[in-house]
Amino acid sequence: MQSIIKIESLSKKYKNADLYSLNDISLEINEGQIFGLLGPNGAGKTTLISMLCGLIKPTSGQFTIDNLSYKNDAAKIKKIIGVVPQEYALYPTLTARENLHYFGSMYGLKGSDLKDKVIETLDLLGLLKFADKRIETFSGGMKRRVNLIAGILHNPKVLFLDEPTVGVDVQSKNAIIDYLKVLNQNGTTIIYTSHHLAEAEDFCDTIAILDRGKIYAQGSPSDLIASTEEARNLEEVFISLTGKDLRDVI
């Protein structure tokens, strides 16, 4: 399978920080994969995703997305990626439809294509009857689903998800995961971070476990479990690799 993201010796050290948030990471993510980035707080997951989304620049190293680099092809990359941030990145006083029309139009969608796509995705995620209600009246799970739709309206080739199911009920979580699986079956490569290890074990086909800016292990969930002594699930692999110490970060 062809790799869609190639990361070579990528490092990031924030200004005034003592340690590297990412330290010499090399990674390849194949087209069509659901790739999970797991790690405790402060491991470097959000830093890596932020760099891949073009929000921050690396200190050293390089990466390409679909053989394009931000240095030369930022606009092209932004057209083929979708981003679902951890916070509800929506306008609370606008309706779901208004939010989606706006963000869809920023991807160059317009007219009936945009309108139909908004209706279709709202319907698929069970929100069509709430399309004209303001986001501020939505529950956490409903906001999460609209947040997801805003990142996938343009059928991205690569989709970055930063904890897309945090703080939602089981029903919303299932709806989101099921929809992501459909997207993946239609060819979207998914890069996903989460603290829900059971969810990641079920959802991802490849997982990288990060800690202290480095990749500790990488492989399919079953391979990682098999290669870790006495581990019966991904959580035990995770604890075995990252330890039991609390990771409070400021």
Binding site: I81, E87, M106, Y107, A150
Partner: protein
């Protein structure tokens, strides 16, 4: 790109439409402000020109001078004279107490023997002049003149009255007393020369006349409305800094700004969207305030705003003033991290800009250093451009330098905001 700008404008309008507090700040407050301030300013003009102010007169003289003062004050448009309180004649102590307590704004105390002594002094002076000219019949040496002490007319002011009012009153009374002295001198000369049947012309020879600018051969006399509406409209336009900066801070805290950074849309398009929307808001504010000044003011006892032939140029000034305010709002919203930072800073900085820009105190009345600072305030450029159009009747060419400065301010502040944002994200 045009579609993205259009959708950004639509989004901004929807956000504003659903923000009741923001709408009140944008539309209702400026109207309340312009009506209130113009009413107050207009009534303070009237206080000096139309409405009669009651003043206390303590007459210790009981002579011709105090009678003339009384008559002149009664005849004047400024004052009505009060000589008794509770049917009791007013003493100096009563007058002083009443004024100090703010019951009256002014008391005039005419000293004892003012008429007698004034006449005696004038007689002395006239006699001296007449004898030096050889008009006297007597050959005997003139007796040594009696020393007459200078007289003081005391003025007691309410400590709360403003300096401008004090100066206006003192100037009026000074003028009145000078006229009385002059009349007395003329009369004494007539008597001395035995020409009592001849009447000297006692009116002032030199008078002054205000030449009022003409527009379309009609005199346009500036009033409080012509001064206040442009000034407070500009103030209101600059208050757009607050909702705009809050809008930008909210986008950052909601995460929508980050989402936009990952979209194939440049920050410039987002800023253009905001600029178009808020420029439209500024223009709506401007036309609302002008409409209120033209149509509502006459119904609440204020003069109507006369914008005859000026609306287009005034709209141009309003638009460019709006640009300057928007640039400032974008910069503030970009630098501020929270609404708690942007809102108070925005409000305070607009008030400071208004103060140094000459909205409250005219620039010519400021100390030299403040006059120099005022010239670098965008609100001063806007205000002067409004006055140029509305009161000085200038052409478009003559306001180009001022509106260019306003646009340059917009370009500079927006560029700093874009640069700052880029720099901030290079973590």
């Amino acid at each position: 790109m045009l579609y993205k700008i259009w959708m950004s404008v639509v989004k901004e309008f929807l956000l504003l439409k659903r923000d009741l507090g923001g709408l009140i700040i944008l539309f209702i407050m400026p109207l309340v402000l312009v009506i209130t301030v113009t009413l107050i300013q207009d009534s303070s003009f009237k206080t000096i020109s139309d409405n009669k102010i009651p003043i206390l007169l303590v007459d210790k003289d009981k002579g011709a001078v105090s009678k003339t003062v009384f008559d002149n004050l009664e005849k004047s448009k400024l004052f009505s004279v009060v000589t008794q309180i509770d049917n009791q004649p007013i003493t100096e102590a009563i007058a002083q107490e009443a004024v100090n307590k703010g019951k009256y704004q002014l008391a005039i105390v005419i000293p004892e023997k003012l008429s007698v002594d004034l006449q005696a002094k004038i007689n002395q002076n006239v006699e001296k002049i007449v004898s030096s000219m050889g008009f006297t019949d007597s050959v005997a040496p003139a007796p040594t003149p009696k020393i007459i002490k200078q007289k003081e007319v005391k003025l007691y002011f309410d400590p709360a009255v403003q300096m401008s009012f004090k100066n206006a009153v003192m100037s009026s009374i000074d003028k009145m007393i000078s006229q009385i002295e002059t009349q007395s001198i003329y009369t004494t000369f007539q008597k001395q020369l035995g020409e009592e049947s001849t009447q000297f012309e006692q009116k002032s020879f030199i008078t002054f006349k205000e030449i009022i600018p003409k527009i379309n051969n009609k005199e346009v006399k500036p009033n409080s409305v012509q001064h206040n509406v442009p000034a407070w409209t500009l103030f209101a336009i600059f208050f757009i800094v607050i909702p705009l900066s809050i809008n930008i801070v909210k986008e950052k805290s909601q995460g929508t700004f980050v989402r936009l950074l990952t979209n194939p849309v440049s920050n410039l398009i987002v800023i253009i969207g905001k600029t178009i929307t808020y420029s439209a808001i500024c223009m709506i504010q401007f036309y609302m305030m002008v409409a209120v000044a033209i149509f509502l003011f006459p119904h609440i006892g204020l003069p109507s705003l006369n914008i005859e032939g000026h609306l287009i140029l005034m709209s141009v000034v309003a638009l460019f003033s709006g640009f300057a305010a928007i640039g400032f709002g974008i910069l503030l919203g970009t630098i501020a991290n929270t609404q708690e930072q942007s809102a108070p800073f925005g409000a305070t900085s607009v008030i400071i800009l208004a103060a140094i820009g000459g909205i409250w105190v005219p620039v010519f009345a400021m100390p030299t250093i403040m006059q120099i600072i005022a010239k670098s305030s965008p609100m001063n450029w806007g205000l002067e451009a409004f006055y140029d159009v509305l009161l000085r009747n200038v052409s478009f060419l003559e306001i180009i330098p001022k509106i260019s400065l306003l646009f340059l301010f917009f370009i500079i502040t927006t560029s700093i905001a874009l640069f700052y944002d880029k720099k901030k994200r290079t973590v």
